[in-house]
């Protein structure tokens, strides 16, 4: 079955460390805030990128979210994890920026099927093995990024949080303010849509094809 990273598991030691850091920051040791945020900086950036689809905007929003978390740390209640609270701030900031930019007008019209209905896979190409070095190739990374960019926002944000950043389904629901059932439905659709897009291109030994270039002998 799927292997998840340690980030997803409730780690008591890590939670205790966070609580202690938060207490010290609230008592005046503000310089420790960077250490509190550092483990989640990637998650903050990816959450912003999921909504904005633009690196420069995502970086801006990520910075704004971190600063906002710092200035509002006293409002953080330990009812949720610090990381969940931080990502919620990021998502809200990104949504506000989207509204200002009217980004909804430029969303892909990929979501032609109703979310309530069952998704029917369109491709049945036999795509079995992935060599571990596949991601070293920039054309593969570009292909995956393009496929992800073609998903409608509601699928992209769930997929990025869950499958790219390994946030738990419950936390994803909390951060996006939707139900757990919606997260599961959108996640299933996102995965199947991405498979439909990628399988025809990556199946049947695509990975083993080495592009013939000068000085690169194919034998």
């Amino acid at each position: 079955m799927l292997r998840r990273t340690a980030v997803e598991k409730p780690a008591d030691a890590s939670d205790e460390r966070e609580q202690s850091l938060i207490a010290r920051i609230r008592n005046g040791e503000s310089s420790l805030f960077a250490a509190l945020v550092k483990p989640y900086e990637r998650r903050v950036y990816v959450a912003a990128l999921a909504l904005l689809r633009n690196e420069a905007d995502a970086q801006d929003v990520a910075q704004e979210a971190i600063l906002k978390a710092f200035t509002h740390l006293r409002q953080f209640r330990a009812e949720s994890r610090f990381s969940t609270w931080l990502i919620q701030i990021t998502v809200n900031e990104a949504r506000m920026r989207r509204r200002r930019q009217h980004s909804e007008l430029f969303e892909p019209i990929a979501d032609v099927q109703n979310e309530e209905g069952a998704y029917t896979p369109r491709e049945f190409a036999d795509w079995r093995e992935i060599p571990s070095e596949a991601l070293e190739r920039s054309e593969i990374r570009a292909l995956l990024a393009k496929a992800l960019g073609s998903l409608a926002q509601k699928y992209r944000e769930v997929f990025l949080l869950r499958d790219v950043e390994h946030v738990s389904i419950e936390e994803t629901a909390q951060v996006l303010d939707i139900s757990v059932a919606s997260v599961k439905t959108r996640l299933l659709r996102a995965r199947l849509m991405l498979r439909d897009i990628l399988a025809p291109m990556l199946a049947d030994g695509w990975f083993s094809r080495t592009p013939f270039q000068k000085g690169n002998k194919p034998w």
């Binding site: 079955m1 990273t5 483990p39 990520a62 971190i66 600063l67 896979p121 079995r128 199947l192």
Partner: protein, 181 residues
């Protein structure tokens, strides 16, 4: 229980997340043995999760950490002190510098590196707070999962300079951006 293709597609995520009942799992697996289409859908979905779950796919933009930390530093209030406080601070600094100089005379080199295969830390800001386990060899950014995954005794939060003095070496994963290139 016999399941059809449509039901297998509906449950593929739950199946991969190990969130189906043993009966449904057995039925899906029986179906998969007979159905090439569903096997292809399952393999492909697993590949999607595998590929996108890899950290190499989406890397942080260069300088991202430095930029947000610099902006944050503008917001962090700098401690203000009285003249007496400054006097105490200067005296303490002189005392500390003296003891360092004395210690250096007695033992001119740093502790030996705890790991012979590691890269010594040279570019890490000395005031940066890091975590190191008592019996470990490396120090980490607080919260680095590679520290907690391999738990090696009690973890301490110390300044990078102190960790380096004690012979710890930087984690090549969480402190990659500070290592020599």
């Amino acid at each position: 229980m016999v399941v059809e293709c449509a039901q297998v597609w509906l449950e593929i995520s739950n199946y991969l997340e190990d969130e189906v009942s043993p009966e449904l799992r057995a039925s899906i697996e029986a179906h998969l043995r007979e159905c090439r289409h569903c096997t292809a859908v399952l393999d492909g979905t697993r590949n999607v999760i595998h590929l996108y779950g890899d950290d190499r796919l989406l890397e942080l933009p260069a300088g991202f950490t430095t930029r947000w930390q610099s902006r944050l530093a503008e917001y962090v209030p700098s401690p203000r002190g009285t003249a007496f406080g400054w006097l105490i601070a200067v005296a303490a600094l002189a005392l500390i510098s003296g003891s360092f100089a004395l210690a250096r005379l007695k033992s001119p080199s740093l502790s030996a590196l705890r790991s012979y295969h590691a890269q010594p830390a040279t570019r890490i800001p000395s005031g940066m707070m890091v975590e190191a386990s008592v019996n470990g060899k490396t120090f980490h950014v607080p919260g680095c999962r590679f520290l907690h995954e391999h738990g090696k005794g009690k973890v301490r939060l110390v300044a990078a300079a102190e960790a380096i003095r004690e012979g710890y070496v930087p984690c090549v994963r969480c402190l990659r951006e500070y290592l020599n290139r």
